[in-house]
Subunit: 79 residues, 2 copies
DNA sequence: GTAGCTATATATAATGT
DNA sequence: TACATTATATATAGCTA
């Protein structure tokens, strides 16, 4: 989408922040679409180097969905 | 993208599975792009009704990233 | 149950305001 | 320092096999 960019860290701080902001919105939108249309529970979290936290979950408590993964038997977690 | 679909559960089982498979790949691709280009740690998990588990993480141990969120002070988790 | 094709809808980098 | 626009690259629903 849009002009191509290299798959490497965007060094320009402002550009990096703008890109993250836009892409985060799109990711959340798409995660929500998959959750609704495909009837799956989705959770995602993101941490920026500065410690800013982002998240999305289609369920009420993201903690429950995250823990659901962490508490899976080890063999179910591997892929 | 592609022909429009309603934002509701896809009742046709096969169609639902195909859609999930395609969209999951795209989500993972985009999550990886954000992680690399914006230098953020990303983790996501998905659970289908049948119990199938999907995940993505740019770091070695997704458990660490998921727990990093769960272990945040409550005020940092809220949004 | 999978794997490509393609027409169309979206996403988005760069730019403008 | 954010929004809005736009030109282009992707994503993808429906088909096809």
């Amino acid at each position: 989408m849009g002009r191509k960019i290299d798959m490497k860290k965007i060094e320009d701080v402002t550009k990096c922040q703008v890109t993250f902001s836009k892409r985060r919105s799109s990711l959340i939108k798409k995660a929500n679409e998959v959750a609704v249309c495909c009837d799956v529970d989705v959770a995602f979290v993101a941490f920026s180097p500065s410690g800013r936290v982002s998240k999305f979950c289609n369920q009420r408590r993201i903690e429950d969905v995250l823990n659901r993964y962490v508490n899976l038997p080890v063999d179910k977690r591997l892929k």
